[in-house]
């Protein structure tokens, strides 16, 4: 290779190395946040006690109960839900060609909220015990919203515009139905609905963590296969199709993955906003839109954001837990604004 060629190649390799570095640093931050999340909580346990419990060095029933049945599931669900939201947000922004998109744009969150509210208001009519019924119905209705968008999209060529419009239609549909439910609900049910909509990590259990993790693990390979197609999609439908990519099928596949993953995440923690919106933007600024780096980075920063929010929600009122959906908005929005105004490289 000529000198110029060498320069190009080495430039590319150092670009890749920089991205790997970003991911490694992000991972380190994630580990730190996770540790902090496990170490803090309303019971004000001492750090040594927590460490001993995690490493199973000593047996203190009280500390073990708190660490293993409450704190670890919560810290872990923050990671897997955050990663899911970051990943689906990144995918949505790519296939809808829209910087404001997240998996909620499809009406998924509104559908899930409606499903959960149905259980809360009419719980007795459903044969399942409530703590199963809510996630199941939330997932089912999230799926209904996505299927609706899918069906409309499929019949109209699955362009970004059609999907966004269909998503908005279902968003409004389910929000109106939700308002109707809130109108007839008793005050207690109303409270429950409102808190479900705030989102909460507090109801995490090991099985729930397992389910979300399994869904995430299952969806990742499906996205990996399309990694170059999604990158090419960033250059426009025309160019992508000129490269031989079936753009319509790509969008529908991605839509399916997003609905399943978002549905699973939202079903267990409610609608926690801004993670799916902000994490991809951070990823984009730090590693660009080569999806081989963009998707993992979005997942990583999504997990990091939610984990930090979990820590923050415990720090705001010592001894109590601040609703996490409010924390993600209060932290997410100013952070987002700072990101946009201070960065040299701004995309969109």
């Amino acid at each position: 290779m000529t000198a110029a060629a060498e320069a190009v190649a080495s430039g590319y390799h150092s670009l890749m190395a920089r991205r790997v570095m970003v991911l490694i640093l992000g991972l380190a931050a994630l580990v730190a946040s996770f540790v902090l999340d496990v170490a803090t909580g309303p019971a004000m346990l001492r750090p040594e006690a927590v460490i001993r419990s995690v490493l199973r060095l000593a047996e203190d029933r009280t500390v073990d109960a708190i660490v293993w049945s409450i704190r670890l599931p919560i810290a872990l669900i923050a990671l897997v839900v955050g990663a899911s939201l970051g990943l689906t947000g990144a995918t949505m922004q790519t296939i809808l060609n829209n910087p404001l998109a997240s998996s909620y744009t499809l009406g998924v969150s509104a559908g899930a909220g409606f499903g959960a509210a149905l259980v809360i208001v009419f719980g007795q009519a459903i044969p399942l015990p409530e703590h199963y019924a809510i996630p199941v119905m939330a997932f089912v209705f999230a799926g209904l919203a996505c299927s609706g968008v899918y069906a409309i999209g499929r019949s109209r060529g699955a362009t970004a515009q059609v999907l966004v419009l269909a998503g908005i239609a279902f968003l409004f549909l389910f929000q109106s139905l939700l308002s109707l439910l809130q109108f007839v609900a008793s005050p207690e049910a109303l409270q429950s609905i409102v808190f479900w909509l705030f989102g909460s990590l507090q109801k995490a259990t090991w099985p729930k963590v397992g389910i979300v993790a399994a869904v995430l693990a299952g969806c990742i390979p499906v996205l990996v296969v399309d990694v170059w197609r999604l990158t090419a999609l960033r250059l426009g439908d025309d160019r992508a199709r000129g490269l031989g990519i079936d753009v319509r099928a790509l969008r529908l596949r991605a839509l399916l993955v997003v609905s399943v993953l978002t549905g699973a995440a939202v079903a267990f923690v409610g609608t926690i906003g801004f993670i799916g919106l902000v994490a991809p933007h951070i990823a984009r600024i730090l590693v660009g839109e080569d999806q081989r780096a963009f998707l993992p980075a979005s997942a990583l920063f999504g997990a990091l954001l939610l984990s930090c929010a979990s820590v923050a929600s415990k720090a705001i009122i010592p001894g109590a837990i601040f609703p996490i959906g409010i924390v993600t908005s209060l932290i997410g929005v100013p952070f987002f604004i700072w990101l946009i105004t201070s960065s040299r490289k701004v995309f969109w």
Binding site: G41, P42, A43, A65, I70, F183, S186, Q191, T205, A320
Partner: protein
């Protein structure tokens, strides 16, 4: 011989606390069926207990000494919601001021973690919060902390009695609990039986509303729960039945006027930051109560309602509802619904007696009052 008996009695008295203390550290696991029919194994008498509501009942049944064994509570439900009542109790129950807060179910601050760290023998939750706490209760169960549901909210005799007896069992004060149960049941049955025997031809139409936000706003009314249940138990024709979207809710003001109720009750209290509320409670005088009630009776379109014309607009303390001393409210409401039938009842005297026998604070203030004296 008398002296020997006297000395024996004295010795027994002095040794009894020692025995008592020894007995108290000996706990036995028993199966208790709570107000929701859940059968739970609890070690009684409980050494470390966490009540979350119904604090006046807890105090009546477990006594001031019971509070020495309370390791956590939902402070908001007493300190904020019933501030003036709390302030009186905290003066006579020293440990109360520093009991740790484990959070409230209503605003999602209920913390399983905190409860676990306090190592209670049992947690007592109220029926209305049970729905929101299913997950938390399951988590506590998983680490061996039992939860019992008490239910004074249903306003049903059976639930009142069961909850009272459960509290007695848990705290080891069964005798007191029985006293209270009997106090309640005799009075309750007396009222209800008299109404049944009287075979009232036309049921009086009654309307109840929480008078908290001022006469311009319409407060919550109740169809079948809380005050609605009390009205229904007393055989009144509760005009809210069938007109609310759920078990409780604000009635349409037009519907209230159209229904022409014979008796109207406004549930008041001493809520902080509610200047337009109907004022009742320990710190209210009859003049203050009447002054706060009058604007409500003066609502537009109300002048011709039978209840207003006859002066049968009443203030009742909202805190009397869903409590063991709701029997006092029953007596008062029965008197207002069927004045001829219940001339002999004196609710104020009953409440005075309840305070003297069962509560550590002294009776005072205004709790139930008609607008027209």
């Amino acid at each position: 011989m008398f002296r020997r008996t006297f000395l024996a009695a004295l010795a027994a008295q002095m040794l009894a606390p020692a025995f008592g203390a020894h007995a108290q550290t000996r706990q036995t696991p028993v199966q208790i069926t709570d107000a929701f029919g859940r059968t739970v194994t609890v070690r009684v008498p409980a050494e470390r207990v966490i009540p979350t509501f119904y604090y006046e009942e807890f105090t009546a049944i477990a006594g001031v000494e019971g509070w020495n064994r309370v390791v956590g509570m939902t402070r908001t439900a007493w300190e904020s919601w019933r501030q003036s009542i709390y302030n009186r109790y905290v003066k006579v129950i020293p440990p109360l001021a520093s009991v740790p807060d484990i959070g409230l179910a209503d605003d999602n601050t209920f913390s399983v973690e905190k409860i676990i760290a306090l190592r209670p023998d049992v947690v007592l939750v109220s029926s209305y919060a049970f729905g929101a706490l299913k997950h938390h209760i399951a988590q506590l169960e998983a680490v061996g902390i039992p939860t019992l549901v008490l239910d004074y909210n249903a306003q049903q005799l059976e639930r009142h009695l069961i909850s009272t007896r459960i509290l007695g069992r848990v705290m080891g004060t069964e005798a007191r609990a029985e006293d209270l149960a009997r106090f309640y049941e005799t009075r309750y049955r007396a009222i209800v039986d008299r109404i049944a025997t009287a075979k009232i031809a036309v049921r009086p139409k009654a309307y109840v509303e929480i008078g908290q936000l001022g006469p311009e706003a319409t407060g919550l009314s109740y169809a079948s729960t809380m005050w609605g249940a009390i009205l229904n138990n007393l055989g009144a024709d509760n005009i809210a039945v069938g007109k609310l979207a759920g078990p409780s809710g604000p009635m349409n003001p037009e519907a209230v006027i159209a229904a022409n109720p014979d008796v109207i009750f406004f549930a008041g209290s001493s809520w902080p930051n509610r200047p337009k509320a109907v004022k009742t409670g320990y710190d209210a005088t009859p003049e203050v109560t009447r002054a706060s009630l009058a604007p409500y009776a003066g609502r537009p379109g109300w002048a011709d309602i039978p209840a207003v014309r006859s002066g049968n607009v009443n203030a009742v303390e909202h805190g009397l509802c869903r409590a063991l001393f709701d029997i006092v409210a029953y007596e008062y409401i029965a008197k207002r619904l069927y004045p001829d039938l219940f001339r002999d009842l004196d609710p104020e005297a009953s409440f005075r007696e309840y305070h003297a026998k069962f509560l550590p604070v002294s009776y005072g203030g205004t709790w139930m009052l008609p607008l027209k004296p």
